[in-house]
């Protein structure tokens, strides 16, 4: 007759100097239904070695020459081993029992009652499992509590952000609506200089509002991990040149001495040039804002170890008090001290810069002293990985065929106002512009001659801009011709999958259109300059 019982596997480490006692213990455990894998240790060194492996249970003799239950329990505790431990002894006194339990033993066994071994082990294992379970529950409830606090804090920050956002949006809107109402109601005589001045105020406030919205959208995108980074091989020298060019007007207006200092040994870096420019631009325009007229602003790019580089912008401005340094990279925390508040800004530039840098695996920082100027810096890895699959596919660079005359740009746009703006901007910059008002018109003109670049509005009267994009992409003559989408559609992802060089949002910033063409390698000599 065979009794079929399922044996419970048990890995047990036994600290015992007597081979006989060890055998008895194993026999009793097997009899109690355990399938035992056991190792006997009789010295601290052996114990130490054995604890490298996983055990379900430790059973230790209390009294051994040069060793003992106390040592075993202390070793378990100092090594942070959570395995349950039972102490076994020939002479069971009350005092050692209490000492063992205090030192962490789960139970105490007497060698003269071998029949009790298995039941005590069973109870000890059950207790140990329960202990682990309740510890797990405690740990989880602490985790939940922490998580809950984090959510509450995030929620509070969101509400605060919304309140600030509402405030920041209403401020320029107050000027836009207020002045527009005055002008519209005929409350201002068009013949007075005030009329023009108020129009200027509306325009400036409108631009400020747009900047605010763009910054907020970027901020939201970085937060959601959805900001596009399109890493490519970048020549830092070229980036520095382009940023200097963008800032030329501000530099001239405030007579800023802009100095650039590029460590040539950095070599090429691999990152999104647009984002790098955004970072440098934010720092530089801040530095200029807080510089006195005629002040010096320095853009310095140096090596930072072998894998990173450091972009630094220093100014000779008013400086920042130490207690305010922490607020700098936080949304809407424009410093209120003294004149700082009078410097218009969205209060988002530095917060955005910080996130842009961090999203690329870098870090930002600032050094400043009141009255002695500030230095803002960003340490950025030389190689930034593409962080999103939403990135637009890059148009492969083609060998540009040098043609005589100005580069030809086909402008596909149906809105009369935007047509005028695009045509005059591009023509003034020296491009040869051809205008198409509909998709069909665009395709007809496209077939007639070669173009160096195309700008497309996504909303056309006769066909979808996306259909036009597909039609152009299908034409082998379009290979390598940069296509720039100029659109009011805020979501760049709509053109994902199309070979689009760039997406520019309306209202159109003419500088960024030209900059985009230049990035695509389609450069022209401005009107009036010798070509």
């Amino acid at each position: 007759m065979t009794v079929s019982t399922t044996l419970i596997p048990l890995r047990v480490l036994v600290a015992e100097d007597s081979e006989d006692d060890f055998e008895i213990l194993l026999r009793e455990l097997k009899r109690g239904g355990y399938e035992v894998v056991a190792t006997r240790v009789a010295s601290p060194a052996q114990l130490d070695a054995a604890l490298g492996r996983e055990w379900d249970l430790v059973i230790s003799d209390w009294m051994m020459p040069g060793f003992g239950g106390r040592v075993v329990l202390d070793t378990l505790s100092t090594r942070g081993v959570k395995t349950p431990c039972i102490v076994i002894s020939g002479t069971i006194g009350e005092e050692p029992a209490v000492e063992a339990l205090k030192a962490g033993a789960l139970d105490f066994l007497s060698k003269d009652k071998p029949k009790r071994f298995a039941p005590v082990v069973e109870r000890a294992l059950r207790e140990a499992a329960e202990r682990i379970r309740s510890e797990e529950i405690r740990r989880r409830s602490i985790e939940l509590e922490l998580q809950n606090r984090r959510i509450q804090e995030a929620n509070r920050l969101k509400s605060e952000f919304l309140a600030n956002m509402s405030h920041e949006l209403r401020t320029p809107l107050n000027a836009i609506i207020g002045f527009a109402e005055l002008l519209h109601d005929g409350a201002v005589d068009p013949a007075t200089p005030q009329y023009r001045e108020f129009l200027g105020d509306i325009l400036t406030s409108g631009k400020h509002l747009l900047q605010l919205i763009n910054d907020v959208l970027d901020l939201a995108k970085v937060e959601a991990g959805k900001l596009e980074f399109r890493p490519e091989k970048v020549e830092l020298g070229k980036v520095v040149q382009e940023i200097s060019a963008i800032l030329r007007t501000t530099v001239a207006a405030k007579r800023i001495r802009l100095e650039t200092d590029l460590d040539a040994s950095i070599g090429d870096v691999f990152l999104d040039p647009g984002r790098l420019k955004q970072i440098a631009y934010n720092y530089l325009s801040n530095a200029m804002k807080f510089s006195p007229p005629g002040g010096k602003v320095t853009l310095r790019i140096t090596k930072d170890g072998d894998t990173a580089f450091k972009l630094e912008v220093s100014d000779e401005g008013i400086g920042i008090a130490e207690q305010d340094l922490g607020k700098l990279f936080v949304e809407f925390q424009q410093l209120e001290a003294g004149t700082a508040k009078r410097h218009q800004g969205t209060g988002l530039g530095l917060a955005l810069t910080k996130r842009l840098v961090e999203a690329q695996g870098g870090a930002v920082g600032v050094m400043s002293k009141v009255g002695a100027g500030s230095t803002f810096f960003a340490v950025i890895p030389r190689r930034v990985e593409a962080l999103t699959e939403l990135a637009l596919p890059r148009v492969p660079t083609r060998e540009r065929v040098r043609r005589k005359g100005a580069p030809a740009v086909l402008v596909v746009e149906d809105d009369a106002g935007d047509q005028a703006q695009l045509v005059s901007t591009l023509a003034a910059a020296g491009y040869d512009v051809e205008l198409a008002g509909t998709g069909a018109d665009a395709l007809a003109k496209w077939r007639q001659r070669m173009f160096d670049a195309v700008t497309i509005d996504l909303l056309l009267p006769d066909m979808s801009g996306l259909d036009l994009l597909s039609a152009l992409s299908a034409d082998p003559r379009a290979t390598g011709v940069p296509i720039i989408v100029v659109t009011v559609v805020p979501d760049t992802n709509v053109v994902a999958g199309f070979a689009v060089h760039d997406v520019i949002h309306k209202p159109l910033d003419t500088d960024s259109l030209i900059a985009s063409l230049v990035r695509a390698g389609v450069t022209a000599a401005p009107r009036g300059e010798a070509s």
Binding site: S166, T171, A175, G178, R342
Partner: protein, 133 residues
Amino acid sequence: MSGERILIVDDNPTNLKLLAYLMTQQGYVVATALDADAALASIERDHPTLILMDLQLPGVDGLALTRQLKQAPATRDIIIIAVTAYAMKGDVEKAVAAGCDDYVTKPIDTRRVPSIVARHIEQRAARGSGAPA
């Protein structure tokens, strides 16, 4: 009532200009201040009948300034209308608690603000006509 003195306090120069133009057009004598210190100096100099007060100011904010003015015997008669871009729940209560007599949210309605200002000044004049100055 034209000829009354109005002080406009706002840290944003463009918005200050808008309100100043609007009030000047109504025939008021307008003073402006970009912060609490300038406002206090102006009030000291020529006690205004009414203040259009932006609540977010650098340093001492508009709420604190309002409380200060409403507590001082010399200035508690000045009508204070909060003009603020804070438009969330609880903001009106805060303004009223600080002692503001009325509350206008930015963007302001340029057609309504003059009538609100006029109403407060008329009410004050009607109430104050029997009492000694």
